[in-house]
Symmetry: C2
Subunit: 151 residues, 2 copies
DNA sequence: CTGATTGCAAACCGTTTGCATATCA
DNA sequence: TGATATGCAAACGGTTTGCAATCAG
């Protein structure tokens, strides 16, 4: 469902602007992919999104979905994550709204969280090693409460 | 160079024990791979290790290196990391010695660090979401001091 | 001896690309 | 109309596996 402060239409509009800015073209396929990407929620693989778009756009090719997601990343509207060794995940990118992930190793549920204190400490670590930080990733793996009950 | 508290021979010995425990067999190839893995230092890809072992063991196959590293992971003597979308990295695994990584996006240099305070805060986050934590990863990406000077 | 291991080559599988055709601007 | 985008199918590249030959125990 995207997030609480943006609607699908706003998101698509942002995409359209970014596309025009680059002298690229708007196509039905691109809009369909972008729309579904936003509606689907935060984390999605190319394959999953391809399956979803296929339902309403039976002609679409996998490569188009792949290339549109790549374009979204270039436009800073999406970002990638690699939670396992195989597939890459795409999610919304929102400036000034960095978050990290709690991942259930049983059901693959992904919960997002923010923690300013940790971010601050990360900066300290980087400073101590003379690094100029550009980005970071933090993933906590464990068993969620639902899965704890099951076993 | 492995680490300060273990020698190559001790490491190989630990591997031999683990192998016997499992009713598996010790071969020259396995020992050569394990030795080089330890001597090489912390982070290494299958391909890189294959190249290294090849020099002293021209007959060895890529698959053997791959399978030996996998075996090391099963024996809790190595662990994997995925710093980029392509290759998997292997490094020593040492119980009770968790560390995280600072990675230079220019020269790919990897610096390890530990930070108890952050670890503690991570536990807090997990608790707050009713997660039982099993592991985590934290990677800070930036430009190291050497590369800052260059540009 | 005999079952585990090796080395080779091929299969796998997600990702990426070349290209002829279709489409947007 | 002309450059961009699409869909297909094939290439890529790291990983994994089947299999006959080899070897450790």
């Amino acid at each position: 469902m995207g997030n609480s402060t943006t609607t699908v239409d706003e998101f698509v509009e942002r995409f359209c602007l970014a596309v025009r800015e680059r002298g690229l073209r708007l196509t039905n396929q691109r809009i369909a992919v972008v729309r579904r990407f936003f509606q689907q929620g935060h984390h999605v693989t190319v394959d999953r999104l391809y399956q979803l778009v296929l339902k309403e756009h039976p002609q679409i090719g996998y490569a188009t979905v792949y290339r549109t997601l790549k374009l979204l990343v270039e436009c800073s509207l999406a970002q990638t994550h690699q939670f396992d060794q195989n597939r890459v995940c795409f999610e919304l990118y929102e400036e000034h709204e960095h978050h990290d992930h709690l991942i259930c190793i049983e059901c693959s549920k992904i919960i997002e969280f923010e923690h300013e204190e940790i971010e601050r400490l990360q900066d300290t670590v980087a400073e101590a090693h003379d690094f100029v930080l550009t980005t970071h990733r933090m993933e906590l793996y464990g068993v969620c409460s639902d899965c704890q009950k099951k076993s």
